[in-house]
Amino acid sequence: MKLNGSEIIAECLIEQKVDTVFGYPGGAVLNIYDALYKYSDKITHILSSHEQGASHAADGYARVTGKCGVVIATSGPGATNLVTGLATAMMDSIPVVAITGNVSNDLLARDSFQEVDICGITMPITKHNFIVKHVRQLAPVIRKAFRIAMSGRKGPVLIDITKDVTSAVYDFEPAIPEAPVMPLESTDEEFKSAAAAIKNSKRPVIYMGGGVVSSDAEKQLLEFAEKIDCPVASSVMGLGGFPASHRLFTGTIGMHGGYETGKAIDNADLIIACGARFSDRVAGDRDKFGKSATIIQLDIDKAEINKNVQIDYALIGDLKDTLRKLTDESEAATHDAWVAQVQEWGKNSEVSQTPDSDSYAHPYHVIETVQKYMSAEDIVVTDVGQHQMWVSQKYKFENPRTWCTSGGLGTMGYGMGAAIGAKIAFPDKKVVLFSGDGSFHMNLNELATVRSYSLPIVIIVMNNTVLGMVRQWQKLFYGSRFSQTDPHRKTDFVKLAEAFGVKGMRIHNDGEAESVIKAAFECGEPVVIDCLINPDENVLPMIPPGKTVDDMITEME
């Protein structure tokens, strides 16, 4: 059938089973938005306040559904506003397809109004990108973009489309989407060797990462960990991929991970990395990480092998497949003494908190109170900073895809968009956004979106009036010279919320937490809770950058 380029885009999205897109209109995408108008019964478009919010929404939508998120933006500034969202998705391997308009072919390369080379700009922060300058390429490129985004190690793909292509008419033939490709590379012998290393281990630890969630391999991981009776530590990205209530779960690993996890890794004779990449925030001193241990790494991305830490056994493939094979090859084992030892270390992992006060609430208390009102399927989103780490330490995640956080890029301002994406995906699940006053200030404009679509998200702003994480580093490493981390902002978050048409509430201290949080969940409306936190509350324990568990800080003045 003959369709114009914009209708071809809509048809291709429908073909990929996309029913929700996020975006913001503009000159170069007028034709695309005209098609979205026509196809509005099949594709719901969510309008953000800013393209960055839309890009994070597509990312949050992808994280909670496992599907590919879609974001649309116009040329020039519309496209550049996607950059942070794409980089965030790239670092966390989140599948997103971004569609940007560009100026028409006859205006390209002439510094035309709102023209920018977005393919050049996004090359290092996408898995791949395309510019479509002829309508005949359009459908094949869109199909390929989705396949690339969802194949292997997932990630964002950008399609830049010139405006003339979006109006040009061409034949469109519907096609059935090809399945994503998940290569299994390792041989049976390699699985046998890895299984032999497991058999010889007395003190194994599983170090799991976001790959468990990305691959939907949670069942295979549980089965594997139980069969070989092995403690499981998670990166921040991996949370939810293994039940926090399980006796083998030790909590998060790395800079703000628990003492028991640090000691377990340090004393392990075998580390089995599952969909994890030994980032500096996990490994600290990468030359000392797991120095006495044999390391097995299971990953879909061969380039992760020996990137940061030297690996003894690499098993390349989709984690579901590699874990299943490794479980089959491995003998059942018990490590009672070792598991008990790790739990024993856990008893030493208490950290100091500021004393009780009438003027402040404790972050842990607030998080625990929120958790009481959440089911194991409900969704937690964070921004970036101290509040993010407190949540990663304290919140008990039982299920994958219930946790959205910018782990790799550490994008302050991520949370509002991501929470919107999550709530749009699952209107029946509760969605809580933990933010900080610093992060919240970055993209609070999306409160307008939350109100427009009546999304009952509970937004908890952990308001310590300072840029707490950077301030904590200044306290530790810069002689308490608080350069630009105490902004003295006078924002009244309750009034701000009300100005957007959103309910505003406030928690002054621990005593008020329960009643305010209860009211927030019960009102069924979007709520901003201004939660007052002591500016001197720290994230502890902390392993200083480039150090090991032996250098762990457990208390600060």
């Binding site: 393919c119 050049g120 898995k127 380039a303 092998i305 390349i316």
Partner: protein
């Protein structure tokens, strides 16, 4: 600690593929000293030949990272003792007295370099050979003063019947 290896890439001949490869080299901090691009003899494909300086781990990282570029179809190290490699140089040296002139002529003829141009104060030679032969020629001529030079970069093929485009695909890739 010079450990130079030659890597051949078989790539889709798309606009921007050179930028994708060089941008990756730059952001991952790989140390290369030569990169050439030419038609691969297969429609729609180009061949890149890259000389990289790095240990085995860096070289395997290089290959694995390159294979993540969608337009890169194959990436292989050419085995040092099992390849044919060549490059061409045009080099202009200063000529001074008659003795030096004769020395330069005798030196360059031992490298099978041809004298292609004579200036008032310079001699220009063209030579081809393996990268290390060319390196040696440059070192030798350096004594007489190199005015300027241009090297084409390396062209290299694996010896025997091997064919990069037919090599088994590295499977660290989705597409």
């Amino acid at each position: 600690m010079d450990n130079k290896q030659i890597i051949a890439l078989f790539v889709r001949n798309h606009p921007g593929v050179l930028l994708r490869v060089t941008s990756l080299i730059s952001r991952r901090g790989f140390n290369i000293d030569s990169l050439t691009v030419s038609p691969a003899g297969v429609d729609g494909y180009s061949r890149m030949t890259i000389r990289i300086n790095g240990d085995d781990n860096q070289v395997s990282q290089f290959i694995n990272q390159m294979m993540k570029i969608v337009d890169v179809k194959k990436a292989q190290v050419l085995p040092e003792n099992h390849m044919v490699a060549s490059e061409l140089i045009i080099i202009k040296v200063a000529k001074s007295d008659v003795d030096t002139h004769n020395e330069i002529i005798s030196l360059t003829s031992s490298f099978h370099a041809s004298l292609v141009n004579i200036g008032e104060n310079t001699l220009t030679f063209r030579a081809s050979g393996t990268p290390s032969e060319i390196d040696t020629l440059v070192d030798e001529l350096n004594k007489y003063g190199i005015i300027e030079m241009a090297r084409t970069g390396i062209a290299a093929l694996e010896s025997g019947d091997a064919r990069l485009s037919a090599a088994p695909a590295q499977s660290n890739r989705a597409l």
